[in-house]
Amino acid sequence: MAGVTVANVSRSFGAHQALDDVSIDFPDGGFYALLGPSGSGKTTLLRQIAGFDFPDTGRIAIGGESVERVPVEKRRIGMVFQNYALFPNMSVADNVAFGLSVRGEPKAMIATEVRRALDLVQLGKLGGRRPHQLSGGQRQRVALARAIVTKPRVLLLDEPLGALDKALRVDMQIELKRIQREIGITTIFVTHDQEEALTMSDRIGILRDGRLVQEGPPEEIYDRPQSEFAATFLGDANIFRGDATGSGIKLPDGTTIAASTGASVPAGAKASCAVRPERIQISTGAAKPDVGNANMLTGQVSKRIFAGNNSTYFVDREGQTLKVIVQNTGAERLAEGQPVVLSWSPESTVLIAA
């Protein structure tokens, strides 16, 4: 097992800079999610780590050993592809055995290892089948078993659950996480599903246009995004833009918003504030807001979306639509068109330098 270090890696295709000076430490035994919009360079970064492609500049190390010029087959990595990439001419067992057999391991050892790997992904009985006789979820498990049976130093997955439907996907998320814990392998997981990234990983790295925007544990990125992009890409956020006051910002209409988390921005500079929709309290104005809710705005409900355990209110205010999510506690529901008071605390407000 080993950690992975990517240091100042850049890679261009013609005039297009797919990776621009990316540096990330992937901790040993951790589960790391690479998140970003389409075309942000996630796959390109994963391919550099795997060794399918080499960086123009920068360093890549696996377990402390520099590998940036080592070809794939010598890197001892395991890779799971989005389309599974199972060998259609081989049985499930032969697929799983492939990595051990090209290494020339003894037959008896291969048989035990293959059985153990198939048991681990709960496919013990299907070794004799051909890939085309399996369901999508089962193929995914075979691909996983095949990737880990060789005891690689790192497990790389490129949107492995992208082709599965929602229910199966949640099952596979749990399964994948269980297997990863069980063998304790350093795992790098590419996804553009932010929920998947939040629930599965120990750390998240957000990429945009080939640059690393922010990285850290999921809670940290969610609670203290360092850019408007990070705030809106990982979860939902209401963004207010104005001039920094030293303790928050002043909106163009003169309203001040107090913020006590996030960056420190010198007074007078442009800055913005991000507030998560579930942190905002919404009321008709008759009830007093919670103590400590120093930030207060008035507006009008323009739309309500009921989603069972919660409701989302869209509130119009000064040409901006704010989003508020309220748990369904049985309290009275607000009608569309109703004037409302929004309030939240400075602790829930993240200051972001422009």
Binding site: P71, A85, R103
Partner: protein
């Protein structure tokens, strides 16, 4: 799934009939009728032309077994077919691989055109241009002597290698095309998966790519082997006196000796032998894949 398929085919066949009809008509007129006439001829003593006497006989088939020459020539032709097919694999498969997996865009189109070109040129022109290249004092001879410091004589004309070269040139496009199609269908991620599991490029080729391209290799081999065994033009023009093969003997019966019944009988024996060989070889090759 099976239900769906059954419904699909039940619904699918009837409306398709008018569409299939022209094809069946064409097959009947263009292939079935002439072929039946030939079967008929092969059992006759002479052609029923200009009031000649004729009767039914098995003698034409018996001739093949009574005269050792025919089976010797058939063996030589089978060997020729095998050798040409092997050369086509050796040359055509790597070319198809490069076309399908290495080249992209413009350069792929250009090379493809070069591969297909022999298809579009007239067979006789192709063969005679080889004759110009291969004969003593021809293009190859002159070119090599111009480059090499010592004198050598290249006269491949009227030899077995000349026949092989001509035939391989004519038939290698089939192998390139069939292999290209199967190689094209192999997802690149399979190659990457193989390498990520520690396999070298050669191991991936042996264990993944070649087995998956077996259908193309088999189709190409069948498309080449069958006509080469019966070929007569290349052996006659490029082989000269060494170019007597089973196909040239059949041709002689039709155009020189005017013994159509014997020619027809020899053709059907060839057809039977080739079909038996294909039937025997197919499962073996498929298992190898």
């Amino acid at each position: 799934m099976a239900d769906q398929l059954a419904i699909g085919s039940r619904r699918g066949l009837r409306p398709a009939l008018p569409l299939l009809l022209p094809a069946y008509l064409w097959l009947t007129v263009a292939i079935f009728l002439p072929l039946s006439a030939m079967v008929f001829f092969s059992f006759m003593t002479d052609l029923p032309l200009a009031g000649k006497e004729w009767a039914f006989t098995l003698g034409n088939y018996a001739a093949f077994f009574s005269q050792g020459l025919y089976s010797t020539l058939l063996l030589a032709s089978l060997r020729l077919g095998l050798e040409v097919t092997l050369w086509c694999v050796v040359i055509g498969y790597p070319a198809a691989y490069v076309l399908a997996k290495v080249l992209k865009g413009r350069s792929r189109e250009a090379i493809f055109l070069l591969v297909i070109l022999p298809f579009w040129s007239n067979g006789l022109v192709r063969i005679f241009s080889w004759a110009m290249v291969l004969r003593e004092g021809g293009i190859l001879d002159t070119a090599l002597n111009a480059v090499l410091p010592f004198k050598i004589n290249i006269d491949l004309m009227y030899s077995y290698p000349a026949v092989i070269i001509g035939l391989v040139h004519s038939y290698v496009p089939y192998m390139v095309l069939t292999c290209y199609l199967t190689l094209q269908a192999i997802d690149d991620s399979l190659i990457e998966a193989g390498r990520s599991l520690g396999a070298s490029r050669l191991q991936v080729l042996k264990r993944v790519i070649i087995p998956l391209s077996m259908p193309g290799l088999i189709a190409g081999a069948a498309l080449i082997f069958v006509p080469v065994v019966g070929s007569f033009m290349e052996p006659r023009i490029l082989g000269g006196r060494t170019g007597t093969f089973y196909g040239t003997v059949i041709e002689d019966q039709f155009v020189a000796v005017f013994n159509w019944p014997l020619g027809a009988a020899l053709s059907f024996i060839l057809l039977a032998v080739v079909l038996i060989i294909l039937a025997l070889a197919a499962p073996v090759l498929r298992r190898a894949g």
